[in-house]
Symmetry: C2
């Protein structure tokens, strides 16, 4: 049984970008979990991407896998992309290389080194490439895109973009309240539909021509799709991309919790 994988950072400009990532000069340790190292992307680095997605920041599953958007948010993004006929020709990058710790303030978001380095990735994905549409997930990603649009490269580029709410914004905002969750999900999916309708005409070369099927009031079968094995580094076990919730930050106090990632192999993957 063959195991497709993402080879990662094999060629320029990504080799140099991955050598030159910023640390605390751009990402203060008080606001970012720099101790886990940067997590750069997910998806196609070979120039075949038709859609660029800008997410927000990685969490603990991303930290183990070393690819972004591999949890529930990622599954919702896969579903959104599929509704545009995009099944593999995408590339995902985050607003932040490191997980946000606590909250991000305006100074942190506007750090010029942080922005400049991120803009090099956006240049690499867009300039001279075949991306036809850009999707940003949440306000910080929308801002990241606007910062790039303000650069000379950005000003010279005319590309359709849609700013949609972050995929797990309903969960973040409702904090366990099921009624609020349902309402927030419904509101988000309405905005996602607006995004789909804006982007679909711009995608001239989908992986598969699909009839645009808008979201309903809640996630239905097929709206959330698996993270493809092809997006994983070589050799990762299948449960890492097939299942969620297997990585947790555990600890008796904040400092212990910050220092921890606990990986638990799902029962179904054990003999």
């Amino acid at each position: 049984m063959p195991h497709p994988f993402d080879p990662g950072y094999c060629r320029e400009p990504f080799v140099t970008l991955c050598r030159e990532y910023p640390g605390t000069e751009a990402y203060p340790a008080s606001r970012f979990r720099i101790e886990w190292g940067p997590i750069f992307h997910r998806g196609r680095l070979d120039g075949s991407a038709r859609v660029l997605v800008i997410g927000q920041d990685p969490a603990q599953h991303e930290t183990v896998i070393r690819r972004i958007l591999v949890g529930e948010a990622g599954r919702r993004v896969q579903g959104f992309l599929a509704k545009l006929g995009i099944f593999r020709s995408y590339v995902l990058v985050n607003t932040f290389l490191y997980s946000v710790y606590g909250s991000v303030n305006s100074a942190a978001r506007k750090n010029p080194d942080l922005i400049a380095y991120r803009n090099r990735w956006l240049d690499a994905f867009i300039i001279g490439q075949q991306v036809e549409a850009v999707v940003t997930l949440g306000d910080l990603a929308a801002e990241a895109w606007q910062f790039w649009k303000a650069t000379p490269n950005g000003q010279a580029t005319n590309i359709t973009s849609a700013a949609i709410p972050h995929p797990t914004q309903p969960e973040s905002s409702s904090k366990g309240d099921k009624t609020k969750l349902a309402a927030a999900t419904k509101a988000m999916l309405k905005k996602w539909n607006t995004g789909l309708q804006l982007l679909a005409p711009a995608i001239q070369h989908p992986d598969q021509a699909v009839q645009l099927a808008l979201y309903g009031d809640a996630f239905q079968d097929g709206d959330r799709l698996p993270i493809p094995e092809e997006d994983m580094p070589a050799g990762l076990p299948s449960w890492m991309h097939e299942q969620d919730g297997w990585a947790r930050r555990v600890g008796a106090d904040d400092q212990k919790k910050r220092a921890n990632i606990t990986i638990t192999v799902p029962k179904t993957a054990l003999p």
Copy 2:
């Protein structure tokens, strides 16, 4: 501050090898920790290796980093290679793709699919390449090398090889007894010296010409060297290659322990 890294499996034959790794048909789950996925190598895949090292099996640090020999055994191997003037022109592969669980029996070691797949890696490293010497760590690795030597490719190849004890054999055999540990280390280093004296003349193109300095009765300063950042996948935090002991298998019973890897960021790496 630039961060060199190992790009991994970017070209053939490694892309195909990493797609086609065997699972339980070659590695029964009762004897191997297949749930963590295969871990393939460490070091140069670009044909520049002058020394091939065959280790035994990966453990939990390897499982997180996704490169082999990154713990104490790896540090001892780096020191051994340095004594041969080899600082980067090496490639390391294991006898087994997966961590041994319990013990390996003869049937497991002689599984034809297991051996055939491993031989493809050895072919890739040796045939038409510039490896000048082979080192095997422990009996199972020595056997793996003999199995390859018995193949048509192996029989057609004349290359200097040395079988040396596995780097942490003293720890394994002495089980906490310090007197036994000292004696076992002394005995191992004597055999390592025999290996050095056998291999050194075969290495025509060291990274640096060095005077052969044999081991004493115990590990001294400089005998154990850091795992190079250049051998790590892109973006891993420095403490992962600079420090040891940050990954443990933790659990109240065997099954829970088998399902677990607990990662703890060293205090020095936290704000």
